[in-house]
């Protein structure tokens, strides 16, 4: 192994990539936007939910004249204005999504309630009306208001009979969220960061990985490189080192922009949840082997293609495969330690645990690193077989 050959290749590939505006843009801009987007999406959604929850909604009612004052007052307390439905077919309007919900109050409703007889208010809903958030929020609020009405009537009846209300409410709950701000931020990060890391591990180095393999073939520069005294191993390692170094930039930038976003948002949006920098730093470190794994996988696929576009098409399934495994780790954590040996899955699960802020056990970290590095070694041997001079020229 002549290290100067390896360094020469790495240096050239880095200069070549830095001068490529398309690659530089992809390496710098995309990760920043991606990190910010993922960090903002949760608080923004919460913020929208909260503001929607505070808005007054109007619900059409068939038979509003039959409603008693208590019902109207309770709905009003929950920000729901009841108004008489003036169309032809309320259920059809709700099914069409024109209304998210409607009530049908039967005749003599007030009398039936007063007589302590069973009565039914028909609720018709469409959870998709006005978008999933809007419909679901309206329905949830409607249900809360109806429960409150039931509770009020029941309490009135118990009081009339001089029975303590604790008969029907034996337990009341005193709930306090004891999670720290870091834990609250980590709960979201545990879902998003493994996926972010997987995306950037594949996407961040994809351009240069294709350029140094299929790109060399497409440009017609490969043969000139192969006739030099550098060995197949030196060429492959030199190129892999360049791909790895370039991938580190978007990977780190994505996580840093995620961290930055969670720390600049006002507490009103984040509920005081701030992700500590040490978690981001540790996440970057523990994912280095996974980045190398993704790099060499992308290079293997690219080596087998002849042109940049062919490589991009061929890489799409691999990218989705890695993302899918990372998502699986975020939603279905490993049930035993051995699963941490699985490349991508183990690392993603590790990062997920790390993000919650509980620290990561050393043994699981080692399992993840060892498992991934073994896979990297196997992939490197495969890549070396494919990087054989004769095979490259005729593939």
């Amino acid at each position: 192994m002549t290290w100067s050959h390896l360094l020469n290749i790495t240096q050239k590939e880095l200069i070549d990539t830095i001068r490529d505006k398309r690659a530089t843009r992809q390496a710098l801009l995309v990760p920043i936007v991606l990190g910010l987007m993922y960090a903002l999406i949760n608080p923004l959604l919460s913020s929208v939910f909260e503001s929607r929850a505070e808005e007054t909604i109007t619900i059409p009612v068939q038979g509003i004249n039959y409603a008693d004052d208590t019902l109207i007052a309770i709905f009003d307390r929950f920000g729901i204005t009841l108004e008489e439905y003036d169309g032809d077919d309320m259920e059809a309007d709700i099914a069409a999504g024109d209304e998210s919900a409607g009530l049908i109050i039967p005749p003599a409703f007030s009398d039936t309630v007063a007589n302590e007889e069973l009565t039914i208010i028909a609720i018709r809903t469409n959870s998709t009306a006005g978008g999933p958030m809007s419909g679901n929020l309206s329905i949830s609020r409607l249900e809360l208001a109806l429960n409150a009405y039931n509770q009020t009537i029941t309490t009135q009846r118990l009081e009339e009979r001089q029975i303590d209300t604790s008969v029907i409410n034996p337990v009341t709950f005193d709930v306090a969220d004891l999670s720290s701000p870091a834990q609250r931020a980590g709960a979201t990060a545990a879902l998003f960061i493994p996926i972010l890391i997987a995306v950037t591990a594949v996407q961040g180095g994809m351009f240069i990985a294709i350029d140094v393999t299929a790109g060399e073939k497409e440009r017609g520069t490969l043969e000139a490189l192969l006739v030099t005294p550098s060995s197949d191993t030196e060429i492959l390692l030199g190129k892999l080192a360049a791909v790895f170094l370039v991938t580190l930039i978007p990977s780190a930038l994505t996580l840093l922009s995620y961290w930055f976003a969670t720390n600049i948002l006002p507490d009103s949006m984040t509920n005081g949840a701030h992700l500590p920098f040490t978690i981001i730093l540790t996440a970057i470190l523990v994912t280095l082997p996974m980045i190398l794994f993704a790099n060499i996988l992308v290079m293997i696929i690219s080596i087998r293609t002849k042109a940049f576009k062919d490589a991009q098409s061929a890489l799409t399934p691999a990218m989705f495969g890695i993302m899918f495994v990372a998502m699986a780790a975020a939603f279905v954590p490993p049930t035993n330690s051995a699963l941490y040996f699985i490349p991508v899955y183990g690392t993603s699960a590790l990062v997920s645990t790390l993000a919650v802020g509980n620290g990561i056990p050393l043994d699981l970290t080692l399992y993840s690193i060892i498992g991934t590095l073994v896979a990297v070694t196997i992939l490197f041997v495969v890549a070396l077989q494919l990087f054989n001079r004769e095979r490259l020229l005729y593939s």
Partner: protein, 248 residues
Amino acid sequence: MIIVKNLVKHYQTDQGLIKAVDDVSFTCPDGQITGLLGPNGAGKTTTLRMIAGLITPQSGTVTVAGHDVTQDPQAVRHALGVQADMTGIYPRLTPREQFRYYGRFYGLEGAALEKRIDTIIAELNMETLADRRAEGFSRGQRQKIVIGRALIHDPKHIIMDEPTNGLDVMAVRNTRQTIRQLRDQGRCLLFSTHYMDEAQKLCDHVAIISHGRIIAAGSPAELIAQTGQADLEEAFVTLAEQYQAATQ
């Protein structure tokens, strides 16, 4: 000197066995231009790639400056300058940077490398191009980079695969002039071409290859005299027809 002896390379394809190179032998003396002549698909590129150590022959030997290409490919690569079939360049690097990149593979560093780069730039008249990124270079300008990188380590043996293919008239003249200069410097040159007039003008010695076999060898004048034709192109056609008749 480059000595090729009984070189064989066959490929098994879906269409059957392809005898890309079939028992090819020839010698390229130092200080001479040897032309490997043949139509497209005759086996020129495969032969040159075996000489450069890019492809392993099934049998036969290639020695470059006394080094056997299968036993000591690194020594052969150090001794050879190769202008390959694929003549791409790196568009985002300047010619100087590209020469520096290739020069480092041959152990050149620092002042010695920079001096050699300056020499190449001067020899190829690239002073105005040397520090411009190669994006948008003409075919002729690109060809200068391709030749320059093959010469960066000052090799005594040079192989060129169709060096004038696709170039305009001026670029062809410049390339031929460079090839003559290299010969005059005492180097051993082997180049492939399917342009017979080019071979007649440039070569001291030619080996005619057809269907993977050498069907004739000698100086252009010898081959013309042997066939009784007016020029090398007619001589080539006659030899090819004679070979075809003999093998049928």
